[in-house]
Amino acid sequence: MASKQIYFEDVEVGSEIPPLEKEPTTQQLVKYAGASGDFYQIHYDKDFAIKNNLPGVIIHGALKNAFLGQLMTDFAGELGWLRKLSVQYRGMDQPGSKVVCKGRITRKYVEGGDHLVDCEIWLENSKGEKTTPGSATVVLPVRNS
């Protein structure tokens, strides 16, 4: 798999999740429209978007949700499991510039035999604005188990 496996013992409250950079293009929005079946024109038709009082085409909220999903499945690794993922679309983002998914651990605990960490996560645009805050819970493996 992409990176080395992280274990429950490796993380502490406050630990940062390795950030994930993305640079969505209009082409990616078209691919996402096709793959998800969300063909709302504000995501690929500039004239339509402008007529709807938008600055131009905007990134699907659900694509930003997918980026934050990748942030967490990359973090959990093959032996981990993403149990909860929550995102809120507070601000709109346009394609053509970098966005970064980030997160940090807010709680580390054992529940029902599972080793869990809760995380605060967000997507930040190139101006540093957190347009898409959220949270996640992952199950992590333990060493010597």
Binding site: M1, A2, K22, Q28, K31, Y32, G34, A35, S36, G37, D38, N52, H60, G61, A62, L63, N65, A66, F67, G69, Q70, M72, T73, D74, E78, L79, W81, L82, R83, K84, L85, S86, V87, Q88, Y89, G134
Partner: protein, 148 residues
């Protein structure tokens, strides 16, 4: 006084949709992973995924967005409105795999109204369940749509 989320409108909370069943194709999982730009072998490479504890490819967390949820006809006395996606809360229980048959059903769980910058805004929260052919609940998505 809420203008649209009246006591009568609230009677719709709890309403469930019809179900819809989708057969999950390996190619659809790969195309979704490619569209979101996620190269994780679990979502892209059957040979590599076989060597993992999952024993084969699985779908990425938000793949369920491609399994259109049956419409819940939520009636509000709003003659004209625009729609926005407010966000989603997901819970994951079992992986979704190629060859699965996933049954999708929606339920209206909340209706709220606030006064926003753009006038009254109605938040419609739907709980969508994704259940596999063994009757196992794979995922729940609580999706919030906004009408304004």
């Amino acid at each position: 006084m809420p203008k649209y989320v009246t006591e009568e409108a609230k009677q719709q909370i709890g309403k469930v949709s019809e179900t819809r069943t989708y057969e999950i194709e390996r190619g659809a999982i790969r195309r979704f992973a490619e569209a979101i730009g996620d190269p994780n072998p679990l979502f892209n490479d059957e040979q590599a995924a076989r060597k993992t504890r999952f024993g084969g490819m699985i779908a990425p967390p938000t793949f369920c967005r491609s399994l259109g949820a049956p419409l819940l006809d939520v009636k509000l006395n709003m003659p004209q409105f625009r729609g926005l996606d407010g966000g989603s809360e997901w819970e994951y229980f079992e992986p979704i795999r190629p060859g699965d048959r996933i049954t999708v059903q929606s339920k209206l769980v909340d209706l709220r109204e606030t006064e926003g910058r753009l006038g009254p805004m109605v938040f419609i929260t739907t709980e969508i369940t994704y259940t596999n052919q063994f009757g196992e609940l794979c995922a729940i998505q609580r999706a919030t749509g906004i009408r304004y």
